[in-house]
């Protein structure tokens, strides 16, 4: 075990320093020697450790390493130790595909945990299909996809966006909506779904304002002023934010600067968690909201022990936990359970036995893998507190099943996904009765 762990750590460090070819070379050489000494099950970790996405993805890499560590303490899987193979796709979308191929073809990993942005997921899809391997994807996304080789442990729009809008309409009496997002596929699709949903609920077109900004947008003055203007039409207004990544910090700073309080115009965000708030003074943001399936502040014994273990593993008392980490926690345990049920790490039997697997989630309940390769989760709405944590103000009474094909979009409302036999199809059209959209 010691022998297996040390090379992978060395490999991790070298891939941090020398990216690309050198890292890959060192990695394959080192893990090759490890293989010769003890047979292990390899687990691929495909998260950016450099570039723009490193801010979010590095934590997920650590999470998987932590989970593997814990599992090995319990004796590993099928009597073998787990060994992490970490690569760095460097926030470069085509590199994701290359690194995925390297993991599956050369490293022969049994499963890969990875990706953050939808574009990186789309980039690796063909690789996983071609080489028939398994990817666990831990981030909330726009839906409209269900692949045989991918298991989606993050939220689909109906597990995050729609309950959040419902909460604002019911609890805050919001009648006017600003849908603000970063300009790429996740916000655009989510906003399309939300727009259709709001209109179906009777919101007039002039009461919806849609605004897109580029990645890393930092000058929010005039957009925030616009939101303020839009909000002064005498109706209660809220902002639904799919603003992603770095742009959030200056956005919230500007809200605070222009004196927009949560009591006046609340902002509900789908990409802002404990990790993102770590770089902010949250004093002026108290009361703004976020919708997730997990918050660090969830009051459950399983969560407390997870946080404690995580802080001990990272040797940092200030490390926070967040929703995508929980998604990896669920996904990893599901994979372990499915492998144990199948008695092998071969792709096909594991994919079959993953459906229906149920494992504890961190909010004190159980999450199950559904036939559409999405999972069941509770939806929580939290308000930002002065200490950078969230206070949960609403929780769905039961679990919500991830809906991959939105019921509110024309192209997808007739589609369903079921990867069990005999259907075995990710986009079955119930109207035409054909598989293929």
């Amino acid at each position: 075990m010691l022998i297996a762990a040390t090379p992978s750590q060395t490999a991790k460090r070298s891939s941090l320093v020398a990216k690309g070819l050198f890292g890959a070379l060192a990695l394959s050489m080192l893990s090759g020697t490890a293989l010769a000494q003890e047979e292990t099950i390899k687990v691929g970790v495909l998260h950016s450790l450099s570039g723009t996405m490193a801010i979010s993805e590095t934590t997920l890499k650590d999470t998987i390493l932590y989970l593997i560590d814990e599992q090995n303490k319990k004796g590993g899987v099928l009597g073998k130790k787990l060994e992490a193979v970490v690569v760095d796709p460097a926030s470069d979308w085509p590199l994701f595909a290359e690194k995925a191929r390297e993991l599956v073809e050369k490293e022969k990993v049994s499963v890969v945990f990875g990706c953050w942005t939808s574009v990186s997921r789309k980039s690796v899809l063909p690789v996983f299909k071609e080489l028939n391997s398994i990817l666990f994807y831990p981030v909330q996304y726009e839906g409209e996809e269900s692949e045989r080789n991918v298991f989606y442990t993050g939220a689909a729009p109906n597990q995050q966006a729609i309950p959040a809008v419902d909460y604002l309409a019911a609890e805050e009496g919001v009648e006017r909506w600003v849908l603000a997002g970063t300009d790429y596929v996740y916000p655009r699709t989510t906003n399309k779904i939300l727009e259709a949903y709001l209109k179906a609920k009777g919101v007039a077109a002039e009461d919806i304002m849609i605004n897109y900004t580029p990645f890393g947008h930092s000058d929010w003055q005039s957009i925030v002023a616009d939101i303020k203007k839009f909000g002064s039409a005498g109706k209660k207004t809220a902002v639904v934010s799919t603003i992603n990544g770095d742009a959030n910090v200056p956005f919230y700073k500007e809200l605070g600067n222009q004196g927009i309080k949560a009591e006046d115009i609340p902002v509900v965000a789908f990409s802002v968690g404990e990790e993102e708030l770590a770089g902010l003074d949250t004093g002026p943001l108290v009361g703004h909201l976020a919708a997730w399936n997990y918050f660090q502040s969830v009051d459950a014994p399983v969560n407390a022990s997870f946080i404690e273990g995580w802080k001990a593993y990272t040797k940092n008392d200030k490390r926070v936990t967040n929703d995508p980490m929980e998604a990896h926690y669920i996904g990893f345990n599901m994979w372990v359970k499915a492998v144990e049920a199948a008695g092998t790490t071969d792709t096909d039997p594991v994919i079959d036995s993953l459906i229906g697997v149920s494992v504890p989630n961190l909010s004190g309940g159980y999450s199950a893998m559904m036939p559409n390769h999405h999972i069941t989760k509770p939806v929580l709405i939290g308000e930002i507190q002065g200490d950078g944590q969230f206070e949960i103000v609403s929780q769905t009474p039961g679990l919500v099943v991830g809906d991959e094909w939105s019921d509110f979009l024309d192209g997808s409302k007739d589609l369903i996904s079921d990867w069990r036999k005999p259907m075995n199809c990710g986009n079955f059209n119930v109207v035409t009765g054909k598989c293929g959209g």
Partner: protein, 539 residues
């Protein structure tokens, strides 16, 4: 059932206070019973309980509600009794919310926090507002009046009337009158009163006033008509303010661009080095600010307001030093080979980014705003944030300082000599390699102090510099290579143009339009706005 009994109790208390106005105080037990109701049920029940508390008119209510708003109220699980809980080590000390008496120390598991959301916070603000309209403290009266204005509660009219009568400060009195007008519109007073209220609000001419009126423009009858016409009047006057606001935002964005680009104007503009690592110098400046603040936080918290002033020279030295190091180790071998310089400095930028990531971690770092840079003030309808104002001032000072260094000092003279004619300068005894190194260091150092300013408005992460590098090149090329004034005018023009485009075209399209404009402009004037003339440019 329980809810009903609370209401009855509240009514009874309200009645008893009405009968004998001197006895504003309620018996402790009765008040405690009402406070206990805060912890029962969900948000709507808590809101009802707040209203019941306010109905007592007791002096202690506003203090209790304040603590509630701050999230200090907890329910003791054993008997559902509500207490103020204060952290004492890992346990909590319980205080009776009414009497303030200590009620023992309990562990975290024995109590449960009463949740507060926006709705409750609004209810508390309105309730406390209506209770503190007569407070002796002017600041409290002002925020009370503002809270009541937001709540538009018709029941507050008598309290407002009394407060207006007693108010001596004209500014606060005006807010109270506006609050009363807002409440009148929600009440069932006769139409004439409402029209007077519409006129009163319309006279304010502010965006808040328009927002208040907007809700009534659809109402049938004379009130609706009056509201609609008043809203139209305000709207047309706001148009002017909007334009002024856009100019201000444009200048503010322009000064940020100027700060980011001005160091580049030296390294690229004056020296002709295509420095892709320029953004990383800005980033290093921001991280220096972070490090300074961390040290101040742990060792001398009293100095926090001066953290930026301390960080400025340090950022200049750190970034300038790294700049000189880069020039000596990489760039000096590559003068006159722009393509290689571009690739080499790009490599340097990646190395710097990853180094910072390894040292500080990939997460954003929190750089606090000193108190003199927080918040905003308004001039008419123009809201100006202090941080932006200071950044504009700072950009101007840096620009003027740099101009002075280049035009008025011996070092500046040498720099200009070397950039205009290297051989001649060398022949005159100027040690050109050292001038190159220090000029590059100066450009990098300026980028570093730009980083101090940008840490106040952007997030401090290893990617900070990347966001500015393209914009910086755009400004320098547009303004004219080799001319500081060109950089100044270029930055301001692009800033203002961007802010006027944004509301119509959106942020993404706005940026594209601007790039297209610059491409066309460069076609027409390849040397930018302020082209250098003469033989210097041929060298």
């Amino acid at each position: 059932m329980r809810f009903l009994s609370i209401l009855i109790a509240a009514l009874w208390l309200a009645l008893s206070t009405a009968v004998s106005p001197a006895a504003a105080a309620v018996a402790d037990e009765d008040l405690k019973r009402l406070v206990d109701a805060l912890g029962v049920g969900g948000f709507s029940e808590a809101e009802a309980a707040i209203n019941a508390l306010v109905a007592t008119g007791d002096d202690r209510v506003s203090a209790i509600l304040d603590r509630f708003g701050e999230g200090d109220l907890y329910t003791r699980k054993a008997d559902k009794s509500v207490f103020i809980a204060e952290k004492a080590g890992s346990d909590f000390k319980l205080l009776d919310p009414v009497t303030g008496a200590e009620a023992g120390v309990v562990s975290k598991g024995e109590i449960e926090k009463i949740k507060v959301n926006n709705r409750i916070r609004r209810a508390i603000a309105a309730a406390v507002g209506s209770l503190t309209l007569r407070s002796p403290d002017a600041a409290i009266r002002r925020s009370a009046a503002e809270a009541v204005m937001k709540s538009k509660d018709a029941a507050a009219i008598p309290a407002l009337d009394a407060a207006i009568e007693a108010e001596t400060d004209p500014a606060i009195k005006q807010i109270m009158v506006a609050a009363r007008a807002a409440a009148v519109l929600e009440s069932d007073l006769p139409e004439a009163d409402k029209i007077a209220a519409v006129e009163m609000i319309g006279g304010l001419g502010t965006r808040d006033a328009m927002s208040m009126l907007a809700a009534y423009t659809a109402v049938e009858g004379p009130v609706g008509e009056a509201a609609a016409s008043a809203a139209r009047t305000i709207e047309s006057s706001l148009l002017v303010w909007d334009a002024a606001q856009n100019v201000w935002y444009g200048l503010s964005l322009g000064s940020v661009l100027l700060l980011a680009a001005i160091g580049l104007a030296i390294t690229f503009g004056v020296m002709g080095v295509i420095n892709m690592a320029h953004g990383e110098m800005v980033m290093i400046g921001a991280y220096t600010t972070f490090a300074v603040q961390e040290i101040i936080r742990t060792s001398a918290p009293g100095l926090f307001d001066y953290s930026l002033l301390i960080a400025l020279p340090l950022a200049f030295i750190v970034a300038g030093g790294i700049g000189i190091l880069i020039e000596r180790s990489v760039i000096r071998w590559l003068y006159g080979r722009p393509l290689e310089t571009l690739l080499a400095t790009w490599g340097v930028s990646l190395v710097l980014q990853q180094t910072v990531r390894s040292i500080f971690g990939a997460q954003n770092k929190e750089v606090g705003n000193p108190s003199w840079m927080s918040g905003s003030f308004t001039i008419g309808e123009l809201s100006i944030t202090w941080s932006r104002l200071w950044i504009i001032v700072f950009a101007m000072v840096v620009f003027a300082g740099l101009l002075a260094v280049l035009k008025r000092t011996y070092f500046g003279l040498q720099t200009r000599a070397v950039t205009q004619n290297r051989q001649m300068a060398s022949a005159m005894g100027i040690r050109t390699p050292w001038v190159d190194a220090f000029t590059f260091g100066l450009g990098s150092g300026i980028a570093g102090i730009a980083g101090v300013a940008l840490s106040q408005i952007d997030n401090v992460s290893p990617n900070l510099g990347q966001g500015y590098i393209i914009d910086s090149f755009m400004v320098v090329v547009f303004g004219g290579v080799g001319n500081l004034w060109g950089t100044f005018v270029g930055a301001m023009t692009l800033g203002v143009a961007n802010k006027f485009l944004e509301p119509y075209a959106g942020a993404v399209l706005g940026k594209i339009l601007l790039l297209v404009f610059i491409i066309l402009f460069i076609q027409k004037r390849p040397r930018g706005l302020f082209a250098l003339k003469g033989r210097a440019i041929e060298a």
